[in-house]
Subunit: 294 residues, 4 copies
């Protein structure tokens, strides 16, 4: 059995590629996942924001999780995204992921109507009571539409299997709060690419990122420089990749990663509408930023 804090280092998001008819392309997903695994990352996180989770129907989500676990085959742990607007569907997918073999699930409280803190707590608590693997609570107001306060995140950690927090607000003060309130052993993760250096400096245990689809060596080397307390090297590595990290966030990860794979000579498949490919100007900019990197 895996421990509650099994994730550490670089946790990579695969994209969910589509075929020309905008149907999920599982064989392509499998090969892109294998490529990530071999790049040296420490864990896989399918069906995150990069994996366009909310644009998939139930059957598609199940196919992606199944494929990721089959391909990982125990070589590295899998953190399955199971977020949904309704509590009932979140429970459904969390149970599916557990049965399929995921090491943990990641849940962002998606919102249409702004949720109260009590509603969010009850949402996590209901899911937690239906599964026995750990839950990573994921805060990302820019995509999910809900900004969980540090106080609410702290409260969520009272639920026994909510053991990890991923902060994607890009505000390093949130991490300071978590670390201070919860002690040096708390497992908090950074989900904001441009904050990679600051978050590691603040004590983040891992970095959840789509960047290893394009620059896995730079990502893992940054992690190791931090582990070795080699700050000048970490700075050097971070500033090398920082322009690219900012670009892929600014343009939207599914669009930017798909384009970057294409520039690397790897098929990244199609996007599902309304998402559209990067335009020519952005493609040239991305090409320029990737030149000479990893």
């Amino acid at each position: 059995m895996q421990s509650a804090t099994t994730f550490e280092g670089i946790i990579a998001y695969p994209i969910t590629p589509f075929d020309a008819a905008q149907q999920v392309n599982i064989p392509l997903f499998t090969s892109l996942t294998e490529r990530l695994i071999q790049s040296g990352v420490h864990a896989l996180a399918p069906l995150g924001s990069t994996g366009v989770l909310p644009y998939l129907n139930d059957a598609e989500k199940e196919a992606v999780i199944t494929a990721a676990l089959q391909q990982a085959a125990g070589r590295l742990p899998v953190l399955a995204g199971v977020s949904n607007l309704t509590t009932e569907r979140t429970v459904y997918h969390a149970k599916f992921a557990e049965k399929a073999g995921a090491a943990a699930v990641m849940i962002i409280p998606m919102s249409y109507w702004k949720l109260t803190d009590d509603e969010i707590f009850q949402h996590y608590d209901t899911v937690a009571r239906h599964i026995s693997i750990p839950i990573m609570a994921y805060n990302n107001p820019a995509t999910g539409g809900v900004d969980m306060s540090p106080a609410l995140l702290k409260r969520l950690l009272q639920i026994p299997n909510v053991t990890m927090i991923k902060e994607s607000t890009g505000d390093v003060q949130r991490m300071h709060y978590l670390r201070r309130e919860l002690g040096a052993d708390v497992a908090f993760y950074n989900g904001s690419n441009p904050l990679a250096l600051a978050a590691f400096a603040a004590g983040a245990k891992g970095w959840c990122t789509a960047a290893p689809n394009l620059i896995p060596a730079l990502n893992t080397q940054l992690y190791h420089a931090i582990r070795n307390s080699d700050l000048p090297k970490a700075q050097h590595l971070f500033y090398q990749q920082q322009p690219l990290l900012q670009f892929i966030v600014a343009k939207g990860l599914p669009r930017a990663i798909q384009a970057g794979l294409q520039l690397r000579g790897t098929d990244g498949g199609f996007l599902r509408s309304p998402l559209q490919p990067l335009d020519d100007k952005d493609m040239r900019e991305l090409e320029r930023l990737m030149e000479g990197l990893g």
Copy 2:
């Protein structure tokens, strides 16, 4: 055949009620809809934000639209909400609504990944090419997560059957811009309850609101005072209902309307998780605000 600007006055949102098992309760929906029709409103808008559209699956959405149209039975026009994260599902539901007899569809560009202006335009354009009834473009960053600029809204009006704009930002300057850029005949609608007076003063053709579930007489009287250019009366009517309008928006329309119906002695059904009923303190506040109101 109905004209492109068939909607005027008070356009009422029914809620989508659930049973104790959190399944959509169509008989209750039908009776709440009949109650709204008889209250004197000018149009019905099922599956708006108040109707918790994004929390329903495809079959549920179809059942609600069908029930609304059967109950309206031509007595007043029906504006069907058909918004979806993907373009394919939006087209699907728009076609369903047209076939079922809706006078128009309302579409908010829901977002997980922030959409570019081109993606939003293409989203509307694709839907528009698949139906022949008018489209109301609906801007509500607080729920949909996308804030369409006035310039983008103007661009959307180039699509032949995008003929109406609903602004729910609560910023009256957006309406000034629309009116100025598009002339006095543009059909713009207000979707922000606390802005009802200011929006009518700015020339809004209608007010899309869930309030008629609770105070239909005050809502329609405000509209008529404006039509009669009786500003003192409009002010008086507006300030009577303004505290309640603010409350139902602050607490979330599905929660607040369900609670208000209960206080009126009308069954409002159950909510679907993660949404939870108002707590006792809020119930007492709502009761106080509704006292003596129509």
Copy 3:
């Protein structure tokens, strides 16, 4: 003796013009003030934001107030701006204005360090105890850096001679709150030009504005249309002037009014650095917007 709510209608801001050496030009100020008085406005408000109050030293402020009162000569009431970062200087200028004959003073709680509500209350209370003319509390976070909550504004009205509120946030909901909390007789004023129509519709007693330097007839006619409850005419008048109102706010009132006077063939003097004149592109845009107006 004047009543506490002596101000009603159009309250005009004169600019403070400078000579080529960036010294205050009192003779030019006097002639611009006379021009405003003859244009039919209902009151004068020297040393507001338009009058670049914070860029003047003590002697310059006194000279401007004195000149305004001498020129008004009782023909219309004068509301003198006396705001200052420190309480001591605010008291000083408020006493000066009272002795010089101002009907009331206007005070914005300027901030470098964000002030607590208690500090702001004590600031107003200290000034109020040193003078016996009424005080208009002025909320404008965009210039003053402090956003006084509606609750704080309500609290300020407990101070006996704080009898008027000017809201310049551009948020009509603030006015709804003031009117609701304080009754129909509360004297609240609008200081946001693009909100002129909405604020009058909400019941504002007056409009504090620099626009009469350029389009006094349109400004006063809008006020009269509202008083006559002629909403269609008010809409028509508002939409005529709305693009110009937005422009002068967007470009900064001192810059835009000085430029507009020049386009009208009236000497508007020079600005004091760091403020610089509008560039050519903005001048042409302003010329276009003023064509055919007032």
Copy 4:
């Protein structure tokens, strides 16, 4: 002659203390300054935000700068704050500081009317042409009201003696941009206390802070841990002081430092109205946070 990048490490802000009549207390300022110098900080920065620069008149500003330089007596460099709303007064104080012996001046573009980028550039350029000591451009929208974009900061560095940038937005991405755009040798400084660790990790050359009035040893030790690339130690030191750093920023530095000095048994003098001392609850919280800290 001093070099353009003479400042490094901990740059300490003294407060400007007042007597019971709210007049500047120069003897107390001198003794508090001596206390700072002996605490081991690397430079002094009188008349920053902590020194309540904008609340002082011209004579008071000159007295403070003179006293700081006399007391420093060449033992450490002095960075004099000379910011003012008008360009003319900024030039005046910058020339005074140079003549008095300041190593450099710090200028924040204070704003009442929002300044254009050209106006800000011209403001700095005019000052720069009147002095020959280096200028630190200081960005702090929370106090100054102007947010200089990274692009504008880069442009300011084209002015020969603008050689240092102090960023106080608390957004580490601004520092990443500066470092990336300007190379590893750019002298950028952190002015946001809660960002101390992240800014040093990002490569900031120094930390401008009022904290050494209370915890100088922790501040300087953090700097040395970073210089030694001892990240675990830096984290440990940062998390020890982080709650206090957040508190003094949240409560306002002049108020919080004056209170903290009092708790340390050192006379911190009085504040000038409208600023008021911390209330009892905040005092007890501050006492708790300072317990056991250096």
